[in-house]
């Protein structure tokens, strides 16, 4: 007996197997536990929903797996590609919804038993469209949105004698105001000339078109909206109106702290970032307005999805949980009030909270502006090469701004690069 065991052990393969077994994590039985993977600050929204959930399902525990933004999406990509460690409910940022919609890894919520179509009219229209694939599959439910807004320093504008209506009347007025602000205060108008391009390419997107590609993967980057966007960005750079700093860099944050950047076009959530950590000392100096030139654009937003490979037994519960977060007026408003997560659920829009003044914005009732924008934003189709296309356009814009490349040539080069990639 002892000799037999010894003989078996003497085989290296066995030894490796045994050691592997010892290393393998113990597989816990998932007994009525619903796993929700989320990133800040929505992980807090999920945690805040637990008491309400417990009232409905006292026996189902919610386990929140929280990771930082980039880590979260890397982990979700890995989980989907390997079908391992999948959560029952997955939060996704809008940029990843389009990408993940291409794969078959997420449940199509337009079908039974989910039938999200029946609830469609309850959401801000563009948000649900963002999660709808070309074939009509809905892979995620919107929970919060980022209506685009122009934040500006009222004190710097006043010093330059720029009226508050002047700055966002048109793009030309925006640049003219910038020149006055620069002359009077020395402050840059915006962080990077790229920011203006990012918005102007969104103006006038036709139905059936995405930003860079249309429904048939035809490349759209030589269209007038790109020409206009590049021209405006070049005008900004030639007049030295941009600080040449990229969003989220240290210099960018420093620019807001020191008041050397007078405006920022971003999602409504930006006001909370400025107030919470970027430049709390500038409280009362900022105001919000609609984007210049009648533009309405979405910046960010997050969604909840159910991975197809998740435990089948938990899927009905996962769907109920998603409904609790996204379709419950109380939960949506609580997320708005505590985490500045602008609700995607239309029935919250009549809440008096929208009319409260925001101290950081000098008592302005800015949520009314954002609510108006949210209703006007139209959906833009997504394409699997959008991230690549953005990089191509950014690089060609760099060449125009930093190396004096001709705009028509730059856009033609971008077109050529993207056509090579479009059907890959």
């Amino acid at each position: 007996m002892g000799g037999g065991a010894r003989r078996a052990l003497s085989r290296p393969a066995w030894v490796l197997c045994l050691s592997l077994l010892a290393l393998a994590p113990a597989v816990a039985s998932a007994q009525q536990t619903l796993t929700v993977a989320a990133f800040p600050a929505i992980d807090e929204v999920v945690r805040a929903a637990i008491p309400a959930w417990q009232r409905l399902h006292p026996n189902v525990r919610i386990k929140v797996v929280s990771r930082q933004f980039a880590d979260h999406h890397t982990a979700m990509t890995t989980a989907l590609s390997t079908s391992a460690n999948l959560p029952d409910v997955m939060q996704l940022e809008v940029g990843y919804v389009g990408r993940f919609a291409r794969g078959g890894g997420l449940e199509d919520l337009s079908r039974a038993p989910y039938d999200i179509g029946r609830q469609a009219s309850r959401f801000v229209p563009y948000a649900l469209a963002q999660a709808t694939s070309r074939t009509g599959a809905v892979v995620a439910v919107p929970t919060d949105i980022g209506p685009g807004t122009l934040l500006y320093r009222a004190d710097l504008l006043a010093k330059a004698g720029v009226g508050e209506a002047e700055i966002n009347r048109s793009w030309d007025d925006y640049i003219a105001s910038g020149l006055k602000i620069k002359a009077a205060t020395g402050a840059y108008t915006l962080a990077h000339a790229r920011d203006i391009k990012d918005i102007v390419i969104r103006i006038g997107v036709q139905p059936g078109e995405g930003l860079y590609f249309d429904d048939e993967s035809r490349v759209l980057v030589t269209s007038p909206r790109f020409v206009r966007a590049f021209e405006l960005a070049r005008q900004v750079r030639q007049n030295k109106l941009d600080a040449k700093v990229s969003a989220w860099s240290n210099e960018w944050a420093e620019g807001f702290k020191r008041g050397t950047i007078a405006t920022q076009m971003s999602g409504a959530w930006m006001a909370a970032h400025l107030s919470n950590w970027i430049a709390p000392d500038t409280k009362g100096l900022w105001r919000a307005a609609q984007l210049p030139g009648g533009a309405y654009a979405a910046f960010g937003g997050s969604f909840f999805a159910i991975p197809r490979g998740a435990s089948a037994a938990n899927k009905p519960l996962a769907w109920q949980f998603i409904q609790l977060i996204t379709l419950d007026r109380e939960r949506q408003l609580a997320a708005f009030k505590t985490q500045d997560a602008f609700p995607a659920l239309l029935e919250t829009f009549d809440d008096p909270f929208f009319e409260l003044p925001i101290a950081f914005l000098g008592g302005e009732k800015a949520r009314l502006i954002w609510r108006d924008a949210a209703r006007r934003i139209t959906a833009v189709g997504v394409h699997k090469h959008d991230a690549f296309a953005e990089e191509v356009i950014d690089t060609e814009l760099d060449k125009v701004l930093d190396r004096g490349k001709d705009i028509a040539t730059a856009l033609a080069d971008a077109q050529r690069l993207l056509e090579k990639r479009a059907h890959r």
């Binding site: 007996m1 002892g2 065991a5 010894r6 003989r7 052990l9 003497s10 085989r11 290296p12 030894v15 490796l16 050691s19 592997l20 290393l23 890397t74 990509t77 989907l80 590609s81 390997t82 079908s83 990408r99 993940f100 291409r102 794969g103 078959g104 890894g105 997420l106 040449k244 700093v245 990229s246 989220w248 860099s249 240290n250 210099e251 420093e254 050397t260 490979g309 699997k384 090469h385 991230a387 690549f388 990089e391 950014d394 690089t395 760099d398 060449k399 701004l401 930093d402 190396r403 690069l417 090579k420 890959r424």
Partner: protein, 311 residues
């Protein structure tokens, strides 16, 4: 206490059991990713659809990579950075090691330690530190340049406006090269110091007796004696230079800089996979990069190969 015979390891299996922790970790974190990336390089794959979505495409990914102008652009950037940061490392490290070797006695370890510090410090921490040093409006480097520009005569040679190190496509490469040079010069100094200690002292004594000066000793004794270590050091610089990733990645905010001027091949293939979702092409590019590293290493080996008396 006696171990029951059933649990006792046989002499034949003992080495495997003792080796297994390494072998398992190596298999999981070394062999498997290598094999998987080789496999991926011949597939097209939408990763979020799971493993089942892979499709064999033969050499398509390689053909795509070789026709991709950004791949070539990234190779050019990488070559520029490898040369601009690699060559000075050795040109400075060899004389510096010689100087430390011959001039420092008691302070030697402290001096070497100071030069070695950047190498053992976290790359990310260093890159973040340098990005604030290079900052256009708030960085110490521009503050220093500004102070120097007040000096008469010298001031005329320096730029009047703050230099935009990290956003100007022509400045970002030198900025990255400076950081990489600073980080690895100490490592090379340590390599060369070790090699210097193996050169027999009597060679120098004999040379002194024959009337050779310090410079002659350096060129006829030290340099030939260092040759094997130069080969080793240059090989490491080639491999490290071609795989350059963290320093430019952090300095350019993960994008590669304006006009992708700081986008090395490693950054490009990372973005290809994780930003642009094309794992197949990214894997193909990484194998092309590997082939390039292997060829260059082989060429270096040829260049440094000891030649027979006739050659």
């Amino acid at each position: 206490m006696k171990t029951p015979p059933a649990l006792r390891l046989s002499p034949e299996s003992t080495p495997y059991v003792l080796l297994s922790p390494f072998l398992i970790l190596f298999a999981v974190f070394g062999v498997f990713p290598l094999a998987f990336s080789l496999y991926l390089a011949f597939q097209t794959w939408e990763p979020t659809s799971g493993f089942g979505a892979m499709q064999f495409v033969g050499l398509d990914n390689y053909a795509f990579a070789l026709q991709d102008e950004w791949f070539w652009k990234s190779l050019k950037n990488t070559a520029w950075l490898a040369l601009a940061s690699g060559v000075p490392q050795h040109l400075v490290a060899i004389p510096l090691a010689y100087f430390i070797h011959s001039s420092f006695k008691r302070l030697r370890n402290g001096v070497v330690g100071a030069y070695f510090m950047p190498y053992i410090t976290s790359t990310v921490a260093i890159a973040i530190l340098f990005s604030s040093l290079f900052s256009t409006d708030y960085g110490l480097i521009n503050v220093g340049l500004n102070v120097l520009s007040q000096v008469p005569l010298l001031g005329a040679l320096l730029p009047a406006d703050p230099v935009d190190w990290l956003n100007d496509p022509d400045r970002i490469k030198p900025a990255i090269a400076v950081l990489v040079f600073w980080r690895f010069v100490g490592f090379n100094v340590v390599l060369y110091l070790a090699a210097l200690q193996t050169i027999p002292k009597d060679l120098y004594e004999a040379a002194t007796m024959d009337g050779a000066g310090r410079l002659q000793q350096f060129f006829y004794i030290t340099l030939p004696g260092l040759k094997p270590m130069i080969f080793f050091g240059v090989t490491l610089s080639i491999i490290g230079g071609l795989q350059l990733f963290e320093e430019p990645f952090i300095l350019t905010g993960g994008r590669g800089g304006s006009d992708q001027s700081g986008m090395t091949t490693a950054i490009y293939l990372y973005r290809m996979a994780f930003d642009f979702n094309d794992f197949g092409a990214a894997s193909a590019m990484s194998w092309l990069l590997f082939i390039l590293v292997a060829v260059l290493t082989w060429l270096t080996n040829r260049a440094f190969r000891p030649r027979g008396p006739g050659a």
